[in-house]
Every structure is written in C-alpha cells, then in structure tokens.
C-alpha cells in the first residue's frame, strides 16, 4: 500500500515538473533569445549563480529601458554542472533552437573548450566571462572571453615582482588545474626573462589540505617572493600553515584571490599579499561603481570578480545586439568585434585586435584586514 502511494505520488510529481519545465515561453517574434550555460549545481555552483545573477540583472535593465528595437531580451539558462560533457549537450541544445542567436558561458575552460566546436560549426558567438585557457579563443572565430588571460596577467605580475619590487629569488606554488598551470608558466617565463631566479615550482592537487611538505622545502630555499596562483580556500590554508611555521616572505597572487573570503579564511596570515586584480570592489572607475551599486541594490550583497566578469559579458552582448541590423547568429560576431573601448566593470574592453581583451590590471593588497589599492 505504502509503495503504491509513493509510486503514484512520485509519478504525479514528476509529471507536474515536466509540465512546468516544458511550458512554452513568450511569443518568439518579439524576443531576442540568448543562451547562458553555467554550473548552477556541482562544485562550482557558487560561480555559476554569480553568472546567473549578473546576466539576469543586465538583461532586466535592458528590457526595462525598452529592449532592443522594441524587442525584449530573453535569457535561456541551462545548468552545466561544470561538466564538459554537459556543456557540449547544452551547446547542441542552444544551436538546435533557431531563436537563440548567441551564447554566454561557460565557467571553466574545459567546459568552454569542449563545447566550442559545436558553436563554431553553427557560427554562433560563444562569449565566456571566465575561460582563461590560452587556447580557448584559438578554437574558432566565434570564441570571445572577458577575463584577461594568464598570458597577460602572468607577465604583468612578473614585471611587478622583478622590475618594480626588485625580487630576484622567486618560488611558485600553483594549483594543478588548467588555469594554475598556465598562470604559473607565463609568470615564470617572464620572470626568468627579466633575470630572476626561479628556485622551485611546486604544484598541488585541487583538494589538497596539508601543504607542510611543500612549505618546508620552500622555506629552506629562502625566497624573496612566493608567487601563488591558487583560489582563496587553498591560498588561505597555505598561508596559515606558513605562518605556523614562522615562514614569512612577500606573497604575490593573480586576481583569483580577490575575495572577501580570502580575508575571512586567512586572517592575519594574508596581510600584505599583493594581487593584480581584474576587478576591485572599491575601484574608483565609474563603470565599476555603477555595477557595485546596481548589484547591491538587486541582491543585497557585495559582488565578486566572477559576477563582475559576467556583468561585462552580458553588457557586451547587449551592446553588440544594439548595433543596427544585428538579428542573426552570423551578425553578432562582427558586431562584437566592432565595439571599441567598451567601458566595463573590469576595465575597458575591445576585440578589434583579437578575442583576448587587453585590460589594465589593478594592483591591490590587504591592509588591516581590508582590500585596498596598493601604493608604495
């Protein structure tokens, strides 16, 4: 009896969900549809939801301001779970729907790159806010990104460390994923070119908790500076363990560490770390301030770098669609390439000389438990 009850009610429930999920959307003729592929569940759910919040916010604002040529923007959001296989399926789904004319996403480089051939074949723009793999934009002529690549960030940091700060003995500790490997490589190449000595390059596996072996080795080498391409949870753990070992040195990291969480988890141990950020919440530039205000008004919390990058991606998309005559897949790419000096929350973006934006980075540091602009 119980079994039958469970069975019946669950089937009813599933059927109901099916109806809900299959409900057709508004009249297609008056809308422009854009796909968003993001990891709303799984390990990167937090970042995927940042994407969703920012992009929804930009599209809502554009719709309130009258839409594009009187047409409303409609966002089709699908969850990729951060799985490359799923992002390929999403790409097929977007491409099979003739109403969708461009795509924003995905979060991780592997998801973006697995899906890239599908978008390229359909001649549909794939605008990723965060894919930082150097080869992503080489996968085709429709691949764009908003984040600066490690090919730019790494050398920028190397010049800062070696030329400006005069550090000559450098050790690196990096996370062994697609992003960390590139981040380490481009920093090391430039630093060596500038005459610094790279004492050691230590990789750690994502999810590692105990860094004492790596730290003991590095402490013995007595570096002037440690370069730390990692995310905040790992970086905070590394620096806390270093502090316990009484190992003190200058620490520099890419923009990935800019987050309130770094301070929350790192406490005293993260004081004074040097970061070159894509985006900084008290950035005085007006576009960044406008974004901060809008985001806090809409969601009541401070945005992070990923939200800012997604905000710019959505902004770029809206700007490209506003170019007169952009009404089909093939026309979005030239429109994006034609945007000159788009003023985003993460700096000025233009795709005229390639699909990797060249943005100025902001030097920031942590002082008295707060992120502040770095000045000597």
């Amino acid at each position: 009896m119980f079994k039958r009850l469970v069975l019946c009610s669950s089937f009813l429930f599933l059927a109901l969900l099916l109806v809900v999920s299959a409900t057709p959307s508004a009249n297609a003729a008056d809308t422009i549809k854009i796909g968003l592929s993001a990891p709303l569940t799984g390990d990167w759910a937090e970042y995927g939801n940042d994407f969703k919040r920012s992009v929804t916010m930009v599209f809502d604002a554009a719709n309130k301001a009258g839409g594009i040529d009187g047409k409303q923007l409609e966002l089709v959001i699908l969850d990729s779970r951060g799985d490359p296989k799923e992002s390929v399926l999403i790409a097929e789904k977007f491409v099979a729907n003739p109403d969708i004319i461009a795509e924003i996403g995905d979060f991780s480089s592997s998801s973006c790159m697995a899906a890239a051939p599908v978008y390229e074949k359909a001649n549909m723009v794939q605008l990723s806010p965060t894919s930082s793999h150097m080869d992503f934009t080489k996968k085709g002529k429709n691949m764009f990104r908003v984040v600066t690549t490690q090919g730019i960030e790494g050398p920028f940091n190397a010049r800062w460390a070696v030329k400006d700060l005069g550090k000559k003995r450098i050790a690196t500790v990096y996370i062994n994923n697609d992003w960390g490997v590139d981040a380490n490589k481009y920093f090391v190449e430039e630093a060596e070119k500038l005459g610094a000595e790279i004492l050691t390059q230590e990789a750690f596996v994502p999810g590692e908790k105990d860094f004492t072996a790596i730290l003991t080795k590095i402490k013995r080498l007595k570096p002037d500076l440690v370069y730390l391409p990692a995310f905040y949870a790992d970086a905070a753990a590394i620096l806390n363990q270093a502090k316990r070992m009484h190992f003190k040195t200058t620490v520099m990291a890419p923009g990935s560490l800019f987050s309130e969480k770094t301070i929350e988890l790192g406490g005293q141990a993260v004081e004074g770390i040097l970061v070159a950020a894509n985006y900084f919440s008290t950035d005085p530039r007006p576009a960044a301030q406008a974004f901060n205000k809008a985001y806090q008004a809409a969601y009541g919390k401070k945005p992070n770098m990923f939200a800012a990058l997604a905000y710019d991606a959505a902004g770029l998309m809206v700007a490209a669609l506003k170019v007169p005559g952009v009404d089909s897949r093939a026309k979005v790419r030239p429109a994006l390439e034609g945007l000159k000096g788009y003023n985003g929350a993460t700096g000025s973006i233009s795709y005229a000389n390639g699909h990797d934006p060249q943005k100025e980075l902001l030097k920031i540091t942590i002082k008295d438990g707060k992120w502040v602009v770095y000045n000597r």
Binding site: K3, V6, L7, S10, F13, L14, L17, L18, V20, S21, A22, L40, T41, A45, N49, K52, V76, I77, L78, D79, R81, D83, P84, K85, V88, L89, I90, E92, K93, V95, A96, S110, M113, A114, P117, H133, D135, K139, N176, N177, D178, G180, V181, D182, A203, V205
Partner: protein
C-alpha cells in the same frame, strides 16, 4: 512451419527493435536529441561492462571510470602520436585498458568484499592523479584537444548521424558478444561464482582465473567506450574520468537492475534522459535526478529490471531451447510478497 520462419518469428522483437534503431536518425532530425541518444549509447556500453563485474561475478567495482579514461587517453594518443588509423586505435585502446584491467585484477582479486571495492576506488583515484600530474604525456589538467574525427575504412565520420551509426554498431556488438559469452561455460562459471564461490570451486570452476578474465573483459569494453568518447567529444581532460563518473555508472546499474543485459541499457537511458528532460529547471533538476533514485530504492530495490533473466535469445545461434533462471542476487534481501 519451416524452421527458418519460426526463428524469424522468435526473433521478431529484436529485429523490430534493431530496425527502429536503424531508422531512428530519420525520425530524430534535431541534432541535440541525436547527441543525447549517442551519449546513451556510450553509457550503455560502460554500464554493460560494469554489469559483467557487479552483476555477473558479484565483484563490487566502484572505480570503473578509470578504464573508461584509459581507453579515451590511449585512443587519442595512439591516433595522434603513433599515427594509427581509427579502428586500430580503438582496438588498441580496448587492449591497453584490458591490460590495465589484468594488472589491477591479478593482485587485488585475492582480496574480497569491501577490500576489493576499495582497491578499485583507489585505482580510479590514482589514475585521475596520474592523468592530472603527468604533464608531458597527458598534458595534465589542460587536457588533450583537437582529437581527430574517426574514419573507418574510408567512411569519414563527421556528422552526428555517422557517429550514431558507429555507436549503434558498437552497442549491438557489445550486447551480442556479451550474450554469446554469458551463454557459454564462461558465463555459467561467472554465475556459479556469484552464487557460491566455494561450491563453484568444488565443482571444478577456477574462480580466480574466471574473475580475472571477467575483469579484463570489462576493462576492454570500457576502453572501447572511452575511445569512442574521445573521438566524439574531441576534447578530453582528467575531470571526465573522476570517481563521480564511476558513481554515475553505479547508479545507472542500480537503477536499471543488474544480472541481465537489458537492465543496464535501460538504466543508462533513464539517467541520461532524466537530467536532459528537466534541464530547463536549472538548479532544481538534480533534485529530480536524486528523487528518481530514491523512489527506485524505496519501491523496487533490485532495480527496474533486476533479479530476472531476460532473453536476448537469437534463435539462430541457440538451437537448443532451455529455460534459464537466475536466483536473486545474493546481496539483495529476498523480495517480500
């Protein structure tokens, strides 16, 4: 009635099913739907190979994605660097994967129960770390890109439809070869070991050898599936072969039911379809996925088609008619009326 017609009639359901599968691309015009069907094919092979261990021998392997990954990397490497053609690369991938299966099976099959299970889990974790860290060979977390599209004896496989027919061929071959294998002494020996290893050994079944053979075979099939995946998605990175993948395979097997050849295919189809159908629910769709599994465990613990033998009998090959039955899986509680 001539025997020829009688065999034809007996095989009618299979023939009808195969015919439907053959004309499916004509019915499904949407490329996305075809892609979903192709993924069902890949997972059907994987779950069938896992079923060989979990369902037929009663070894609980929870690291099956390792062999899937070995197959994918081996095939990509063989084709891109050794310059082999696709059929050779695919068979090579299967053989290399089978080789690893042997290396893992040889020392670990002396273990039993939970210890063997842990060894398979450990193997998967180690493989993931090796793929992740061996920069020079596997390109580490950056993965291998631009894997060439397959071509089989002049048949260039570029479109979804071509891939569909290739995976259909592979699934049919897997089902057919497994069916033949399980019908002969080998299959009966596996069942005997699963039901009672001591009794089987007393009857002259060399348990350790059969278990190793089953392990090697399962690894071979998984390697073939991995090879197809690599040339289909054209980009592989270690993320795709993490233990999560093994658990998904286990869930499919548990849902479909183990110990026969139909259950795994049905399980794979359902667990690929459910998240796809509910994709527009965004973050809530995984709740549906989870509840399908929970409901299954509440209502039908042995899986949808578990605990029974379904005939995939091809009368042409099986002249003798015999009733086969399998006692319930010994790991599952007896069904209460």
């Amino acid at each position: 009635m001539p025997t020829f017609i009688r065999t034809l009639l007996a095989n009618l359901p299979h023939i009808a099913l195969l015919a439907l599968a053959l004309i499916l691309p004509a019915i499904i015009k949407n490329q996305y739907h075809l892609q979903v069907v192709i993924f069902i094919g890949i997972y059907a092979i994987l779950v069938l190979s896992l079923n060989l261990l979990n369902g037929y021998v009663g070894l609980l392997s929870i690291g099956h994605a390792a062999f899937y990954g070995i197959g994918a990397y081996a095939s990509a490497k063989l084709m891109m660097e050794a310059g082999l053609n696709f059929p050779l690369a695919m068979s090579g991938a299967g053989l290399i994967s089978a080789g690893f299966g042997y290396l893992l099976a040889k020392p670990t099959l002396k273990l039993s129960g939970i210890y063997l299970t842990l060894a398979t889990l450990g193997f998967n974790m180690i493989l993931f770390l090796v793929l992740q860290s061996w920069m020079r060979f596997t390109n580490g977390p950056l993965g291998i890109m631009s894997i060439p599209a397959p071509s089989v004896f002049g048949w260039e496989i570029t479109e979804k439809v071509d891939y569909y027919y290739l995976i259909l061929f592979l699934v049919v071959m897997t089902l057919f070869s497994m069916q033949r294998l399980l019908k002969c002494r080998f299959g009966r020996a596996l069942l005997a070991i699963r039901e009672d290893q001591l009794a089987a050994e007393a009857m002259g079944v060399h348990a350790a050898r059969y278990k190793t053979q089953a392990f090697v075979l399962a690894a071979f099939y998984a390697g073939i599936a991995g090879s197809f995946y690599a040339h289909f998605v054209k980009f592989i990175s270690p993320d795709s072969f993490y233990i999560n993948e093994s658990f998904i395979l286990l869930a499919m097997l548990a849902l479909g039911g183990q110990g026969n050849l139909i259950g795994p295919v049905v399980g794979a189809a359902i667990l690929i379809l459910v998240p796809e159908i509910f994709r527009s629910l965004q973050e809530y769709r995984m709740i549906v996925y989870g509840s399908v599994l929970v409901i299954m465990m509440l209502v039908r613990r042995q899986g949808l088609l578990g605990g029974k033998a379904y005939s995939l009998r091809l009368s042409y090959f099986d002249k003798k008619k015999e009733k086969e039955y399998i006692r319930g899986d010994k790991f599952l509680p007896e069904e209460q009326g």
